[in-house]
């Protein structure tokens, strides 16, 4: 069994999570080869074959060409699996590769299970097991689901080239908007989620943060609705935090939010839904309405 792992580069560097591809392949018990649109400076320490296409020629984001480069590596390796990370690069490119190869695709795999692949569904509240018909199978892996493994060694490079150019034009990156408090240094964070209900309820969250001497954070929809500024967002597309205490108020616990806060020392979640996925990481899940529980907690702490 063979897996072709699709590494990912940004600004000429191999992205850290590309190492999770090796962790997955070893659980699968597969031989590996890697394909990378990058540069020699981005090669992993890995003793296998790396098909290397030059990012300065093909661009870091040029899906039309990247899909054909991956296809060219597939033709040479004849893998059973073509594996991406489920990132903005992977979920963009994997379905294009699957379409080109006429292959089945399973997205956001979190485990191997029952002869198939386990993946989250229903906003991470549930799991499904999926089996693929046909070969190769294209997979994307949820970040953090498999261990990062650095296999060690020096890659045998195989140059990779295709002709033509892509249809879209990549115009460049725009840096993250960073203003407001630096939550990464806060010791206590009280975060507001959509379950807080409306902007007018936010002072209730701020008061709890104040009696605790902490800062206020937010989940994505709270920022998108303009209730709080972008700098307050915790998660993959926001800040990564690791306070001693994180209190999640009316936050469901989507993987993109968890990615930013699960390293917190102690996690308290207040949610009226006992099955909310935040319960997976919370040390204490308070099953309650935030607007009843939080003011009561603040009042008691203020005494």
């Amino acid at each position: 069994m063979k897996a072709l792992l699709v590494g990912e580069c940004r600004d000429g560097k191999l992205l850290e999570h590309s190492h999770e591809l090796f962790g997955f392949a070893s659980q699968l018990g597969a031989e590996t080869a890697m394909v990378l649109i990058g540069s020699e400076g981005a090669l992993p320490s890995y003793g296998g074959t790396v098909y290397l296409a030059d990012a300065s020629k093909y661009g870091e984001y040029n899906p039309d060409l990247h899909k054909r480069l991956v296809q060219a590596a597939v033709e040479r390796e004849k893998p059973d699996y073509v594996v991406f990370m489920h990132t903005s690069y992977g979920w963009d490119l994997a379905p294009r590769v699957a379409a080109l190869l006429q292959a089945p695709q399973v997205s956001e795999v979190v485990a191997l299970a029952e002869g198939g692949f386990e993946r989250p569904c229903c906003s991470q509240k549930m799991r499904q097991v999926v089996q693929a018909v046909g070969s190769p199978v294209v997979l994307t892996l949820q970040g953090g689901a498999f261990p990062a493994v650095v296999p060690g060694g020096t890659p045998q490079q195989q140059p990779l080239d295709v002709d033509g150019k892509g249809r879209g034009e990549f115009l460049g990156y725009e840096a993250a908007a960073r203003k407001g408090v630096d939550l990464s240094r806060a010791e206590i964070i009280v975060s507001a989620g959509r379950g807080v209900g409306k902007k007018e309820n936010l002072p209730v969250i701020a008061e709890l943060a104040k009696v605790l001497g902490g800062e206020v954070g937010a989940s994505r929809p709270v920022v998108d609705s303009g209730w709080m500024e972008a700098g307050a967002q915790v998660g993959v597309t926001g800040q990564t935090v690791s306070p001693k205490l994180y209190i999640a108020c009316g936050i469901s616990g989507a993987i993109q939010h968890l990615a930013g806060m699960k390293k917190s020392g102690f996690i308290v979640a207040i949610n009226k839904d006992r099955d909310a996925p935040i319960g997976e990481v919370a040390d204490v899940l308070v099953v309650a309405d935030v607007m009843q529980f939080v003011p009561a907690l603040t009042a008691k702490l203020a005494k």
Binding site: S88, A98, V223, T237, K244, S252, V286
Partner: protein
């Protein structure tokens, strides 16, 4: 100009999910359904573009699914779409993302849409495949996870959201497809007059057999709750009591309360 918006109806995510009789997907009893959140951004963006272009483009909404999806279609029409297509499929949940894309492609192929908007993923299945696969089948350039959209003279300029709040700027030439992400816009609430007007708009019903030509490549074999990691304390019941117990735990287990 012709615009297509693909819409899926999904359950409210605060629901309690239970396996269906076959144990492969959720049972629909007791679930409340609504428009997939990401698709609401797609509808809104199409309507904003129509407004920008002085009302000229015609917006077609398409949904694949059982009879209940008519509710989602009505909402989209009330938000400002002009007409709709309901691909009637009582078993759409058993189709894989590739089949769903191929059904939509079979419809769209003859229609010559200039722009197609889809959500970046659905909240229930979450494959993030349908939009991209559809673009590939139609031969359209496509950008995913779009949080900024501009259109002028056949050129689409989008911001793609990447990790860590970084954005990637991409330019495409129509015909093109974009998949919409949270934060792209603020979907409007349909007004009563628009809800009334929507009732008169055309909904073209097509049985799925007419459009489906592909075999499934994925088979669902199991649907279940995640294995509980355990360890966490769950506090239920009276609020005052919950407050006392939480403060007790925080004093015990953390150094933040003195």
């Amino acid at each position: 100009m012709k615009i297509l918006v693909c819409v899926k109806q999904v359950p409210d995510m605060e629901s309690r999910f239970r396996p269906d009789a076959a144990g492969v997907w959720y049972a629909e009893t007791d679930l409340a359904f609504r428009v997939n959140e990401y698709d609401e951004y797609a509808i809104e963006q199409a309507v904003l573009l129509k407004e920008q272009l002085g009302g000229e483009p015609e917006i077609t909404l398409l949904s694949v699914g059982p009879d209940r999806v008519v509710e989602a279609i009505k909402k989209g029409l009330a938000m400002g779409a002009d007409r709709a297509v309901h691909v009637q499929d009582p078993a759409s949940h058993l189709k894989d993302p590739f089949q769903i894309a191929s059904i939509i492609a079979a419809y769209a192929r003859g229609e010559g849409f200039d722009l197609i908007f889809t959500g970046m993923q659905s909240l229930d299945r979450g494959s993030s495949q349908v939009g991209v696969a559809l673009a590939e089948m139609l031969g359209y350039p496509c950008a995913t996870t779009v949080v900024g959209f501009e259109y002028a003279d056949g050129t689409v300029t989008v911001k793609r959201e990447l990790e860590g709040g970084v954005k990637g700027m991409v330019r495409l030439t129509a015909p093109a497809l974009v998949t919409c992400q949270l934060g792209l816009n603020q979907p409007r609430y349909p007004t009563l007059p628009n809800i009334m007007k929507a009732k008169k708009k055309e909904v073209n019903v097509i049985p799925v057999e007419q459009l489906l030509k592909q075999e499934a490549r994925l088979v669902l074999t199991r649907f279940r709750a995640p294995a509980k990691k355990g360890g966490g304390v769950v506090l239920e019941g009276d609020v005052a009591d919950q407050v006392d117990r939480l403060i007790g735990i925080l004093k015990d287990k953390t150094a933040v309360l003195r």
